[in-house]
Every structure is written in structure tokens, then in C-alpha cells.
Subunit: 339 residues, 2 copies
């Protein structure tokens, strides 16, 4: 079945139906047959680009072998009864960040170059016809949906603006309309003033636990100075440093963490958006109440999360598979589920 | 920290911050100390009501010992810098559906009575001041967020309308405005005509894989005749029968399934809404792309899902922990993650 989009009649949900994806390998640990490892380059689709050092590749960009959306599709809408199937184009690439299978993100010395490639590929994909938005994301750990261990990120070029982005954009616009300022810039000033949710900061970026964190240990990372577009970013060394700092803290505080890293960048040329990164550790799983309502329940306040991350306490029993908390409220165990 | 709600400044996200929840027991398998088992009644908060048979309780309703929201709270908004903390009332109850620890839903013979109690408690909770909506949900299986094995459901009385419900309501209203009919009634007619997504049907209810299923094997169950409110439902025996039929199919097709059952009922007295149940098996986990974009990716088309469920094939390798699909596209394995 060719991948296509479906819109729910009774809600705002958009779904990409893509059963090709089900065929992809799911072999998280082994490097033997890893398609991303050095020597196995013929196991990826033809390379889009690479970065070399000393005549060896250190970064490769390839099409995703099991794409969610494909390009050069029919670009039509098929009606089926009261429904529509949208055969729209998309792009799906993988950035292989290192030739070394087991590296954790903060062990990849050239990660500033990786970030630069993120920006480059986002700019390039946005130039394609029918691509309205690019979403870059990185899954680390089985519980965060990583199907392969080898360090990599993915970019999807989308034919429609994603609802999370349009929702944020409308909030940015409304806030600027009301206050004359960027909501995120104000948030950064507030977090610098309040301090308790700040996790890390350098001359260019700040990382903090958002006031309305949806997930245990959720972290946002953003430029201190207003900038709508990630792909206009230049301070990649500085960004690499703070990202490494934050990931070190995650790995120190949470045993065997799984987390998603997602870049939110402006969906248009207007100045309202403030690009930012969302880091979502996967500890407590959303369950019936969240899926049913759209509410989130967070059982670790952002203030506590920030404190634990900053303090560098090796909270060794906080793992990404939960277990119970003791009656004396020791924060030593993680939380399996919310509901 | 008293549970309270936080609204994100840059999005529509509402979060309940409730660190009391982190203390709840998470002991999925054992019945020794199960607070819901017969003989351990003193381990629950004071009972709200019970249903007896032969002088023994078969159903108990108790307050949740680790509530997401509490009643009789300050009911105020506290401003903190640019943010607000909403100390709003809520209600959180547990319906213990059976005295037997290990029963699967379709083994609970009196489940029609359980459904009747759902409706009763929903009506009662809605009468309370400050309660704007009641959400009833049931988590089964560890991956669906069930912290206890003993068969139970939960009801939360909310001080705000949940975003998923308001989103559905606006779609119902818009559809009726445009077509003069209920969107769900039209959907039911379409599914009866198309057949391929229908999973089960009786004289009062239908169960089908929604056209825009967000998740592998997502199922919706609804009354054939228009009814906005679950708690006005009367056909509990008929509802029990189709629910059992569907759950049998889930357990036949998916090994060790985990799934959420959620009731969506009208948020107001208007006639537009059509109450329905969403059943969400937890196979592929949403990952970076979904969390980042708000899109869903479904790697099992609803048509295929319905076929597998209906055909009663013991697809023994479909488990709730994914593994890879073979190159020859055998549908025998489940899917761990989407991205």
C-alpha cells in the first residue's frame, strides 16, 4: 500500500498510513548487520551526501529505506465514501551521525558538524516542491522508539503543517499581539529570574524544565536571542556543548534512559516563532487518561526534575522502567505509568 | 505538593502536576497485597458504594488512593511570574470490577452491571460543583499503563473540558452544520456499507477499525442509534456482549495484549455528540516524530487490522513488544515503534 494520509472526520487527527514501515529491521543492540555501520554502506539506499575526515566518512545522509512518506507520488486526493485518502509527497532522510555503533550522543566529538548538517538538510528539503515543513528528530533508547542503536537522526519533509507547530505558532502570534513580545523570549527571561527550572546555560543557549512539562524530566533548549529558524543558526559549537551537558545530566540521573530529541522551527517566514529543542525522556507512559482526554499528568514536578538533573545525583534507581515509590517518598525509583 | 493544573504558554497543552501519583504501588502481577482483592478492603480509602451478590461484594467503588486531582481544594489560580497554577477541584474514583484478581474483562460475567455502575458514577460525579466533564478509562496490561493487575477502571471528574473532547465536539458541530446529520451516524452507515473495517456488530452496537486509526488495531465501538451521552445508555447487556466479542478478538490476535478502553461522552446538553468507546492496543509506541509533530503513523492499515481481528487467526507472533517483520511481508510480528 502506498503511504498516504488520512484525516479523521470527528477530530483534528491526521494519520500517515504507511505499512512499508512495518518491514524495517528492529535490532537494537547488535552491530553485526547494522546498516549504518562502516562496511555496510551498500545496505542503505544511495547516499545523498557525506562528511569525511582523513578520507573516511564520519557522517552520512541517506534516504530512509522504510519511509513514512515518499516523494514523486500521485499527489492526489482519492475519495472513498465519506473519507479522503491524501497521496501527498514527503521526504524521509536519515542522518548517520558517526561510524561508531555504540556512541552515546555526547561521545560524538564532531556533533557540531552533525548539527550543521541538520540545518543544511532542513534547508535543502524545504526547497522541494510540496514540502511545507521539516521535522528533525532523534530517538535514543528502545522505549523512545529507536529501532536501531547506531547513532542517527531523521528528517521528515511534510506536505502539511503539523498540528503541534500550528498550535505553537498561533500561541506565539497571540502572545505577541497581546504583549508586543515573543512568548519564548519572555519565558527565557522568567526562567533566568526564577532559576529553579534552569538546567544549563551558556552564552548562546539555555536549557530548562518547562513550567508545564508534559513528561517526567522534559527539557527545552533554546537560543537566548530570538531566532525563528533553526536552519539560520550558526552557533553549532555552543549548541553542541549545551546539548552534551544536558544529555550527560540525563544519563547521570536516569539509568538506561530513553529519550526523544525534537527540533521545532518556524513554519513560515513571520518573525513570531522562536526555534527550540524538546527533549522528552520516556519514563512514565501516557495511558488511558492522557490518550482519552489530551491532558497530560506529570508525577515529577519540573522544579524537582531540574533539581535532580542539576545536582548530578546518581539517582541510580531512577530507571526508564518504573517501579514503586516507597511510602517515605524517596525519589529513588522511577515511574512506570501515569494512569 | 497539592495537585494543580498548568497551562503551557506556547501551546494548548494542559498538564496536571501530581506528584502524589508517584507513590502509588506498581505491582502488576501479585495478588498477595493487592488492595483490590477480597480481604484487603481496608487497604482502600473508604468505600463509596458496592454491588453485592449472595452477600458478597462483586463490585466496589472507592476513591483513588493516589488521585490525580483532589476535591475541596482551594479553587484558586496562583500567578507565578508569567505563569498560572490552577488549584482546581477534581474527582478520581476506582471501580473494582470483580473480586477475582486475574480475570480478563470477558471473564467477568456481571460486566453489564459494571457498565451500569460506570453510568451511575458518571452521572453522580457530574453533579458535583466544579466538575465539567467525566472521563472513564480502563488500562489493561503493563504497556497500557496498568499499575495493578486486578480488573478495575477509573473515572476522573475534571474541572475543565479535555481538549480531545472539545476538538471532537467542534467537529461534530461543524459536520452537522454542513450536512444536517451526525458525523458518527454517517460514519456508521459508511462502515456498514464498506464492511471491510467492521469488526463486530449486534442489534444495538457496532465495532470497527476507524478509517483514520492512529494506532495499530485501534477499535471504536458505538451505539447504532444516535445518543450523545453514555450515561443515558440502557443496553448494557448488549454492550457487554459486543465488548466481550471485541476483547476476545484482541486477545486471540495479539499475544499478551495491552490496551486502553476509554469512553467519550458528550460534554454538554447539545445533541451533536455521539458517545463512543475507543480501544487502543499498545503495540507500536509513538516516538519522536509523533510527539514532535502531532501526526500519527500507523504501520498496520485499519483494513488489515480489522481483517486479522475478524478472521480470528491466532497470529501468535503479534505481541505487544515488537519485533521485526520479515522481508516477505508476513504479518506475523508486531511493531515496536513507529519512529
Amino acid at each position: 500500500m502506498e503511504p498516504h494520509l488520512r484525516k479523521d472526520i470527528i477530530s483534528s487527527n491526521w494519520v500517515i498510513v504507511s505499512d512499508e514501515r512495518a518491514s524495517r529491521p528492529n535490532d537494537y543492540t547488535t552491530s553485526n548487520k547494522c546498516p549504518f555501520c562502516r562496511g555496510n554502506e551498500e545496505n542503505t539506499p544511495p547516499e545523498i551526501m557525506r562528511v569525511e575526515k582523513n578520507n573516511r566518512w564520519i557522517i552520512r545522509v541517506v534516504p530512509n529505506k522504510y519511509p513514512a512518506l515518499v516523494y514523486n507520488t500521485k499527489n492526489i486526493i482519492e475519495t472513498e465514501g465519506i473519507y479522503q485518502k491524501y497521496y501527498y509527497s514527503g521526504v524521509h532522510e536519515v542522518i548517520i551521525e558517526s561510524d561508531e555503533h555504540n556512541k552515546i550522543i555526547y561521545e560524538i566529538e564532531h556533533f557540531d558538524k552533525v548539527l550543521e548538517i541538520f540545518a543544511l538538510r532542513m534547508r535543502e528539503i524545504l526547497k522541494k516542491d510540496n514540502v511545507k515543513y521539516v521535522m528533525l528528530f532523534r530517538n535514543y533508547g528502545v522505549n523512545a522508539g529507536a529501532s536501531l542503536r547506531h547513532p542517527h537522526s531523521q528528517i521528515i519533509g511534510l506536505p502539511l503543517l503539523p498540528v503541534r507547530i500550528t498550535d505553537e505558532m498561533s500561541h506565539f502570534k497571540r502572545y505577541r499581539s497581546k504583549h508586543g513580545r515573543c512568548a519564548f523570549c519572555d519565558m527565557i527571561e522568567e526562567e533566568k529570574r526564577y532559576k529553579k527550572r534552569v538546567i544549563s546555560k551558556n552564552k548562546d543557549f539555555i536549557a530548562f524544565a518547562p513550567f508545564a512539562s508534559r513528561f517526567n524530566f522534559e527539557i527545552w533548549l533554546a537560543p537566548l536571542r530570538h531566532n525563528p529558524h533553526f536552519y539560520l543558526e550558526k552557533n553549532f559549537k555552543s549548541l553542541k556543548n549545551i546539548l552534551f551537558d544536558v544529555c550527560h545530566m540525563i544519563h547521570n540521573t536516569i539509568k538506561n534512559p530513553s529519550y526523544n530529541i525534537i527540533i521545532h522551527t518556524s513554519p513560515c517566514s513571520a518573525n513570531d516563532f522562536h526555534w527550540h529543542i524538546e527533549i522528552l525522556p520516556k519514563i512514565a507512559m501516557p495511558a488511558g487518561f492522557e490518550w482519552g482526554s489530551g491532558f497530560y499528568i506529570n508525577t515529577v514536578s519540573p522544579e524537582e526534575a531540574a533539581f535532580l538533573l542539576r545536582s548530578g545525583k546518581k539517582a541510580s534507581k531512577i530507571s526508564d522502567v518504573g517501579c514503586q515509590k516507597t511510602e517515605n517518598r524517596k525519589r529513588s525509583n522511577s515511574l512506570k505509568s501515569v494512569f
